[in-house]
């Protein structure tokens, strides 16, 4: 359509082509793309480890790899996925790309610091990769002491340094986004006109800035104990191993919300767009993000119910865990109600979002089991927990990330991918995911502990189902990589607003101008006024 009269337009991609123009860019959009490249690489590496794990677990005996190798595989799978995929995926890729566009801004508040974040992230990733290829690490991604400080002979220090460095990237990005949201909103873009994705990114940034220093301190303390034999966590040196768990989870539980809040924000955007409606209960969804960010700091000890904490503190943390579940429930109900009397346009991003709803529902509801003290004693450290957090982290966070990626892909690249292929992939991933992790709930309740290289024969049937599911899941992810890559070269031109969406990011061209907007946008209404709006058809 518009192509007939198109002449070559300047956009952020074609404005310069040199390698240096990428590596020295201060453009938030290019930085977002550079994160996409690194995070995708980490996702591939982490996925490869997971594939070998599932192949090994197809049989009860440890017959594919040695126990030490297996232990390194699940550790490095966790490290790669948590620190280099789940935490940065939505904020650093999608957030970087669309946040300034959504705000009607030219860039983030501190473009140079934004580039610095990427370099810090890459340096941290290189340290971690180096640790992986020079022998790996076998402590579990949780680095529990005194195993990590005394017993493990693997590359704990190098991995710790990698995680330590990467944390600063997270802190810098969080700070940058907070300042950007406070200072760079377009005229008329009041807080309650902000897209919910911005609320989610803002809440996440709070957690990143307040929580990440704690993991840095914890990793540093671990290094001091391991390297200099200061007794902090090791009882043989006068330390307390449970202290490590408190410190570790004081960051790492809120980190769960760093991983899930931004995808929740992306889901709100997609659901509103493809229902052609306001998000039901906008302010409840917005404040539930903040509530999750704040309550998220008060539940860390629910990881320690069987680690010798007092039964009374267990009571308190169990109760607070139920409290943090409520805002997530509220979000889910509001999303469901958003569909009511919508004009539901079932394009690929919407299919991914609906799959997200199904999987996140299971992930959230199974949290009620782990929060229940009497049940948790039995299922703690079993496959039930593995299944639960994969439903949140992969079923929730990764599906949400993919929903967002499919939604903004035309804006990012200017190209459309195959809608049919994308819908097929969503369904394959949904089916494969359920088959992979569904049986693990049962395995866990039957008592199969996590991080087991070998297992008793009675658990084999369910493990084979899980491994079969994982291969379906892998096919789904590979399919996504293929059609997205193909779209770059063969995709139809997307046009500025292929989804007929509201939101400032859709008012500029695709791919956007180097400085986002020709004229400063002015906002006069809420984020999702589909019913009031004459949607411009390009």
């Amino acid at each position: 359509m518009e192509m007939t009269l198109a002449e070559p337009r300047v956009d952020y991609l074609n404005v310069r082509h040199t390698v240096a123009s990428w590596l020295l860019t201060k453009d938030h959009k290019r930085i977002g793309i550079m994160y996409l490249v690194v995070v995708s690489l980490a996702f591939f590496v982490g996925g490869l480890f997971a594939s070998i794990i599932r192949m090994e677990l197809a049989t009860p005996a440890g017959d594919l790899v040695s126990s030490d190798t297996y232990n390194k595989l699940f550790t490095m799978h966790g490290v790669a996925m948590v620190f280099f995929v789940l935490i940065p995926a939505v904020p650093a890729i999608l957030g970087n790309f669309v946040l300034p566009l959504m705000l009607g801004a030219k860039d983030v508040a501190f473009p140079k610091i934004n580039l610095l974040s990427w370099y810090v992230f890459v340096i941290g990733f290189l340290f971690t990769l180096y640790a992986m290829v020079t022998g790996g690490v076998d402590t579990g991604w949780t680095f529990y002491t005194p195993y990590s400080s005394r017993a493990s002979s693997s590359n704990v220090m190098m991995t710790g340094i990698g995680v330590f460095i990467t944390g600063f990237s997270s802190i810098l990005t969080g700070l940058n986004f907070m300042v950007t949201i406070h200072r760079m909103r377009a005229p008329g873009l009041t807080w309650f006109r902000l897209p919910l994705f911005v609320w989610a990114i803002y809440s996440t940034s709070l957690v990143q800035v307040l929580g990440t220093p704690v993991i840095a301190i914890t990793v540093l303390a671990l290094a001091v104990e391991r390297g200099l034999h200061f007794g902090i966590f090791d009882p043989a040196l006068g330390g307390d191993p449970v202290l490590f768990q408190h410190l570790f989870w004081f960051y790492s539980h809120p980190a769960v919300y760093i991983m899930i809040l931004p995808p929740m924000g992306a889901i709100s955007e997609v659901l509103a767009c493809f229902s052609r409606k306001n998000i039901f209960g906008y302010s409840f969804v917005a404040f539930s993000s903040l509530a999750i960010a704040i309550f998220g700091f008060l539940v860390w000890a629910h990881h320690l119910f069987i680690a010798g904490i007092s039964v009374y503190s267990a009571l308190v943390f169990s109760f607070l865990t139920y409290a943090v579940a409520i805002p997530s429930a509220v979000k889910t109900f509001n999303w469901t109600a958003t569909l009511y009397k919508g004009a539901i346009w079932l394009k690929a991003p919407m299919i991914w979002a609906i799959c997200f709803l199904g999987l996140f529902l299971v992930g959230g509801l199974t949290g009620l089991f782990t929060a229940a003290l009497g049940v948790d004693v039995h299922i703690h450290d079993t496959y039930f927990v593995v299944a639960h957090f994969h439903f949140i982290m992969v079923g929730g966070a990764i599906m949400g990330y993919f929903a967002g990626l499919h939604y903004w892909w035309p804006k990012m690249t200017g190209r459309m991918y195959s809608d049919a292929a994308a819908k097929t992939a969503a369904v394959i991933v949904f089916v494969g995911f359920n088959l992979t992790f569904g049986p693990q709930f049962i395995l866990g309740y039957l008592g199969m502990p996590r991080r087991y290289h070998m297992y008793p024969e009675e658990f084999q049937v369910l493990n084979v189902l899980s491994s079969a599911g994982a291969s379906i899941l892998a096919v789904g992810y590979v399919l996504v990589a293929i059609y997205l890559l193909v779209s770059l070269f063969k995709g139809e031109k997307a046009g500025d607003n292929p989804w007929h969406a509201t939101g400032l990011e859709w008012t500029t061209q695709s791919p956007p101008l180097p400085h986002n907007f020709d004229v400063q946008p002015v906002v006069t209404e809420g984020a999702y006024e589909y019913s009031k709006r004459e949607i411009k058809v390009v």
């Binding site: 005194p146 043989a236 139920y322 929060a371």
Partner: protein
Amino acid sequence: MSHLSIIPAQASTIAPQVDQLYWFIIGVTAFFGILTSILVVYFAVKYRTSDPLAVGAPITGSIPLELAWSIIPFLISVVIFVWASQVFFNIYRPPDQTLNIYATGKRWMWKFQHLDGKAEINELHVPVGRPVKVTFTSEDVLHSLYFPAFRTKADAIPGRYSSVWFDATKVGDYHIFCAEYCGTRHSGMIGTVHVMEPVDYQAWLSGGSGGGTLASRGERLFSELACNTCHITDGSGRGPSLHNKFGMQEQLANGSVVNIDETYVRESILTPQRKVVAGYQPVMPTFQGLVNEENVMALIEYVKSLRSSSGGATAAANTAAPAAVAPAQENR
């Protein structure tokens, strides 16, 4: 055991309590999960359109609905919370009278020590229908002692004692797992708990123990390590008398009061300077490195046996010779 069962053997008094709660939560979550899923799919199908220009109804929200779906889930959560906490107390609060067993986790095995002196590795024999309490620690890194059929577990933490208790209800063999990752052969740190008829258990116990009871081994250690030079029965030694002390409270030099339990006795052997009894000098040397965790347990059991007839909580208390502390020797 069918390969297709979805809950493990229910072999303790706690197991049905945990399973009942589990089924209740399954009911609640299935209700909300299925309801929401049906609504999502129903709305997505019913209101679907292929016209990209169609718009949805101008609905922005509803305060009553928001309140309803905040308050109702909260109230249900409170029900689960209260119920689960009740079960949790039952899991961690043992009855007064238990059959006591010690255990140590070390990479990569569980060693169980019965009070009559019998020890076993990765196997545990217990009688059916009698509450059993296992008190344990770790000699190296974290482990977790897990009995799926009894629905209980607790982490083994070096430097501390943990305990689990269970009252087995069904004769049979059940898994013991290490549930906290501990290195190379974590998945090999498994064993079997044999729940036996009381008569079979007695027969098993009497089958060649050797080495005497745990308390008597502790007594031997007590004199081998020359503990008895200072801890004299009548209290005239450089250290306090240990008679009738276990289970009591003691005033410390720093003014605080401590309960004399397993943890305190262990601490006093390994880090004696930390909590010195009021009226005594901090002269006791540390035995860190000189006694391993199993010997510490033997010493604790000996100290327990020095209680005059009260309690009777331990089977060994009767058999261990009380008050037979060797006379003070001045040559040390």
